[in-house]
């Protein structure tokens, strides 16, 4: 009788232990699922934030572009007023073969899964091998040399390097000024200062436009991610 009573109690204990174990496993699985859900929500929030930030930047840059263009149009109108309408005219534009002096470098972000995102870099006055957009690369490669020079402890070498950098940047600036003058030469040898000012305004507008292009790319990329997520949750 006593043995028979012990057997059910042992079985009960085992059953309770098994239930407890199953319960713990369920809790672990639920915790893992919650963590996964948290990570996914975090990613989703990050995508939404990126989209909203890009959109805000896009609108702000568009507003800035409008201001810059207005200034450019005003300066162009002033130049036309002082030089005469016949001298500031598209009829004078050069229709002979010539490459663009200001171009773009288009690159895709490496190591990224989304192939839709590309990056635009403006190369101003890039004719005659004078690429202003690569000036930054030249500087960064020179910066990499600096730690070596400092490690050598040669201050004279460093000074010579700085002097040559200044000389190089002066030469580049001179080249850029030459390119600018060449661009305005279709309107005559002597041009109004307002025309030069208009040229600078439109150069600034170009820089803003390239920023807008990059922001547009980021916005569309973020939009695709958010859209996919919404599409997934609907299905």
């Amino acid at each position: 009788m006593e043995v028979e009573q012990e057997k059910p109690s042992l079985e009960n204990v085992e059953a309770r232990q098994q239930e407890k174990q199953r319960g713990e496993e369920v809790v672990v699985v639920e915790e893992e699922e919650e963590q996964q859900q948290g990570v996914e929500e975090g990613e989703e929030n990050a995508n939404v934030l990126q989209f909203m930030d890009s959109m805000d930047a896009y609108l702000t840059l568009s507003h800035s572009l409008s201001s810059t263009l207005r200034q450019g149009w005003l300066e162009l109108a002033s130049a036309r007023h002082s030089m005469g309408a016949s001298r500031v005219n598209t009829v004078l534009l050069d229709h002979k073969f010539h490459p663009a002096a200001t171009t773009l470098l288009v690159t895709r972000d490496e190591g990224k899964v989304d192939s839709m995102k590309q990056h635009f870099t403006l190369c101003k006055w890039a004719s005659s091998g004078n690429e202003k957009c690569s000036l930054g690369e030249a500087k960064s490669s020179q910066d990499k040399l600096h730690p070596q020079l400092r490690h050598r402890g040669s201050s004279q070498l460093y000074e010579e390097k700085t002097a040559s950098e200044h000389k190089a940047s002066h030469e580049v600036d001179d080249q850029v000024q030459k390119e600018r003058s060449k661009s305005l030469s279709v309107f005559g040898t002597l041009v109004s200062p307002k025309l030069r000012a208009a040229q600078l305004s439109f150069e600034t507008a170009l820089e803003t436009l390239v920023e807008i292009a990059n922001t547009r790319s980021a916005m569309l990329c973020a939009f695709d991610k958010v859209n996919k997520k919404l599409g997934g949750s609907k299905g």
């Binding site: 149009w73 598209t90 002979k96 073969f97 590309q118 439109f202 170009l206 609907k234």
Partner: protein, 130 residues
């Protein structure tokens, strides 16, 4: 067409323009003008005599050229060929709508913003919550 889906990595890509005279003149002064050996330019000056067909042809030509990375188009000109602009969805060349002297920029007409604005509609938010 599979080749067109690939994003070209391009050096010395051009900026094409479809805009009014003053805007084109200004950007040409900034050095973006390109004339190739066939005397084809990377810009179209739009005035009162320019037909919609001419604008359409210029848009199609610039969007199919491999060496064009950005197309600047005055928003009022884009409105003439709105269907064409809105149906374009390739990443390169990027179509940027810009204001003109007589027609300020209107975000509600921008094709990129129109594409993404449905995310802010009540319907899309409600369906996301289900």
């Amino acid at each position: 067409m599979a080749g067109r889906a690939q994003i070209p990595t391009c050096n010395s890509a051009l900026i094409a323009m479809i805009a009014d005279e003053d805007t084109v003149t200004g950007f040409l002064m900034a050095g973006v003008g390109n004339v190739d050996l066939r005397r084809k330019t990377n810009y179209l000056i739009v005035d009162s005599k320019t037909t919609v067909k001419a604008v359409e042809d210029a848009f199609k030509e610039f969007t199919t050229k491999d060496d064009v990375a950005i197309i600047l188009i005055s928003q009022y000109v884009a409105n003439m060929i709105r269907f064409l602009v809105d149906s374009y969805n390739k990443p390169v060349p990027a179509i940027l709508e810009i204001p003109s002297k007589d027609h300020p920029y209107d975000p509600s007409h921008d094709s990129v913003l129109s594409r993404v604005k449905y995310l802010f509609s009540a319907e899309s938010v409600a369906s996301g919550r289900r």
